[in-house]
Amino acid sequence: MRRVLLIVLLWLGATGVAGAQTPTDDPVATDPPSVSDALADLKSRDFDVKGRAIETIARSGHEQAEALLQALLDRKLVHDRAHDRIVLGEQADGGWALTDPLTGESLGQVDARAARPVIINNRLRERIRNLQAVAALSNANPLARREAAQRLVGTTDPTMLRALRERQAEESNPLVNGAIDTALNIALLRDPGSDLHTRLAAIDAVAGSLEPAVKNVLRDRATQTDAAAERNAAEKALKAIDARAARYETADTIFFGLSLGSVLLLAAIGLAITFGVMGVINMAHGELIMLGAYTTYVVQQVFPQGHEWSLLIAIPAAFLVSALVGIVIERCVIRFLYGRPLETLLATFGVSLILQQAVRLIFSPLNRSVVTPDWMSGALQINPVFSLTYNRLYIIFFALAVFLTLLTVLKKTRLGLQVRAVSQNRITARAMGIRSERVNALTFGLGSGIAGIAGVALAQLTNVGPNLGQAYIIDSFMVVVFGGVGNLWGTLTAAFGLGIANKFIEPLAGAVLAKIMVLVFIILFIQRKPRGLFPQRGRAAEDS
């Protein structure tokens, strides 16, 4: 980024954007001495003198100009008192490591009190940022140009506006042009000398923008103007902006709903197999999720440097750990209890207590936190009011990927065929030569392993603690029962439906009340349709 800016500055100097400077300036604008003079001016206590020096540096086209401005912002341009000069200083070993600002050669180490950073105020800081933005307007990357133009939205400085106009003449990217137009139109509306027609046209042009600056200027115009036409236009534009912002807020709510839905889906999908396909009420499902989350934590502890990629190891590891524990539970407890769902409920609840307590003993009852990789932090900014956070975005895709994989396994593989055969009619399946015992163990392992994968995802969103699983078990059951037991698509619909419903009620009623309302809704829904949204039909459904 910085190197690009540098090139741009050089290019600016070469193509004569530097012509924007005042005629009284030294004709040889790229001459290094003017930069040294300007640097010397920075010693002044007068902020106006400093301001002029900053302008000079920015216009100089000197190869170090951009670095100097950035250093000024970062408080790394210091006044070396011993030699009474301005140099670059890096804080080191309780003192300053000094370098020459123009040549970059080292000037040795001085005491902390021998140098003092050049002080600038907020006005100057703003000025430097705008100068940087002007430079960035010619960046080769359209996104950087758009960002620079957005940065200049709201400015009324004629120099900046001139730079914007010059850029507008050459710009071909519609996004960048949109941002430049917004900036220029706002400046026009702020300009007391502009006439009514141009202002009306400007209001019309900015009406679709969601920038806060646009809203401010329109509100000002609506209250300050004498012309009824302009007031009406401004008010209409404000309404249009509000309507547009409201639409994006809805989109935002839906995104959060989808994100919650994908978490529910991940948590419930393993249960959909053990409960839906095998008829086992696995109350230890939440603890299998917890084991997955702890596996993520352990993998990160094993690779302390590798938190960027250790997730890729954690996913299969969590699957294996939870699947193995699941198979052990199936072999030791559940296989004695097939056909008696209420007993499986009690026994697996006991297992869940044991697993929780074991984790508490091994990892302590305190919460552990998992480092989120850099590529999962941050957000995709769509416009000023709407952005998608990457971790939630990834989890939505991850949940869908897990869902589709599971669907493929059940529909297309031999194991899937056997699982479905055993779940439909155990005796006939055995007569066909399917080893139902083995299929049971593998199915339970599959459902448990997916719970482990859900744990990896949840570890990115919440703290990892012994109670992690408990928080999700009731929700997971709700999703499975609401969607219709034994129907994976029903589980998908229910998870996203409940997630979105929850997020729409939340702003109206608060998070807890929203959850209560969703629970009550499901309780009432089950009364109307006891077998969920998409009930299983046929004989198999009758004897459960």
Binding site: L345, A347, I354, I474, K515, L519, V520, P530
Partner: protein, 376 residues
């Protein structure tokens, strides 16, 4: 089949034995607490009296669950909610009895309402100054909730696992609701700092013994009531619903009415248990609604043995005694023990301790007969 056999042979004898042991033990403990001086080796401390009272409340709750689970086949995972609601009704009465002795000294409002800057009592708190009204609510609130919930659920034939899960959702939703300060039940902290009941200090030994006796009376009364109900024609029909609901329905019985009746009665009994529990432990908070409590309750009944009534009582007392011992000696091990108990009982002892004792007795009597006609 088995039940009628057992009744003719054992009913009156077992009931007498049960009531005799219950009241005998309670009266001995009461006398040892009140009459024997504190430094004597035979003295029973007030702590033990309260502990025993607590166990009896749990036993009553377990009895209530056994009535619906053992005899009617409805595995409710939300019975803790009815218990807690009864407890809150009693707690509200006790809160009103504090009067101006609270921390803020406000004669009109309980402390937590003063703390939340409320200026008047919410409408649903009115009437709880009167003990009679509170007692009515102890039965009425859980009863009405169970009636409405059961009416909706049984009418649409929600059964088995689905019913268990929505009862669990019910208690979970109530827990979340009671955690909210806005609901007006003290939020997170619940109701506590109780001073006295009907003018008697809750700290006094006499009051504690009286509460123990009241718990024993309630348990004994509920036991006789349940025993009587399960022996009547109604009880027989309820068991028929448990064993083959479709068949009972085809024979012309409105099965949902029978289930609703038993479910509501059971909820009222659970509410009474909660009401007796609260003055003895001195606090009621939303934690009582937690789904974990309701499931733990199921294991008490399972350990003792379903569909025997006294099994539930034995199970509740044994498991809670074990809990007291474990949490005192090695607290980390308690959840392992409880978890292991869940697994062991469901896998090895489907009829609980009572079933085990019966099988042993039967094998002794008729060594050739296999004991394998248990209800699912």
């Amino acid at each position: 089949m088995r039940h009628s056999d057992f009744k003719t042979a054992l009913t009156d004898h077992a009931a007498k034995l049960f009531l005799g042991v219950l009241f005998g033990a309670v009266i001995i403990v009461a006398l040892l607490n009140l009459l024997v001086p504190a430094d004597s080796a035979l003295h029973v401390s007030s702590y033990t009296v309260t502990l025993l009272g607590k166990y009896l409340c749990y036993a009553l709750l377990a009895l209530a669950l056994d009535l619906v689970w053992g005899y009617c086949g409805i595995l409710s995972l939300g019975h803790g909610a009815f218990f807690a609601l009864g407890g809150y009704a009693m707690g509200m009465y006790l809160m009103r009895q504090i009067g101006d002795r609270g921390v803020y000294g406000n004669p009109e409002l309980p402390d937590f309402m003063v703390f939340l800057n409320w200026d008047q009592l919410p409408w649903y708190w009115h009437g709880f100054d009167h003990f009679g009204f509170a007692l009515l609510m102890v039965g009425l609130v859980p009863g009405v909730l169970a009636f409405v919930f059961g009416w909706l659920a049984f009418r649409s034939r929600v059964t088995g696992v689905y019913l268990s899960i929505i009862t669990q959702a019910l208690t979970y939703a109530l827990m979340l609701a009671f955690f909210r300060n806005e609901l007006g039940f003290g939020g997170n902290n619940g109701l506590t700092d109780f001073k006295d009941l009907l003018g008697f200090s809750l700290q006094a030994d006499g009051t504690r013994v009286a509460l123990l006796l009241a718990s024993a009376l309630a348990l004994g009364g509920a036991f006789v009531l349940c025993r009587w109900i399960t022996g009547t024609r109604l009880g027989r029909t309820v068991m028929a619903v448990r064993d083959a609901e479709s068949r009972a329905r085809f024979l012309g019985y409105r099965t949902e009415h029978y289930k609703l009746w038993v479910f509501t009665l059971s909820a009222v009994l659970a509410g009474i248990a909660g009401a007796l529990y609260v003055p003895q432990v001195g606090i009621i908070n939303p934690g009582e609604f937690s789904p974990l409590n309701s499931i733990e309750l199921v294991v008490w009944v399972a350990v003792g043995g379903r569909a025997t009534l006294y099994g539930a009582v034995i199970g509740a007392i044994l498991v809670n005694y074990a809990k007291t011992v474990f949490t005192g000696v090695m607290p980390e091990a308690w959840l392992f023990a409880l978890g292991g108990l869940f697994v062991a009982v469901t896998v090895f002892l489907p009829q609980g301790l009572v079933g085990l004792a019966r099988n042993l007795a039967r094998k002794k009597k008729q060594p050739d007969q296999e004991a394998h006609h248990e209800p699912a």
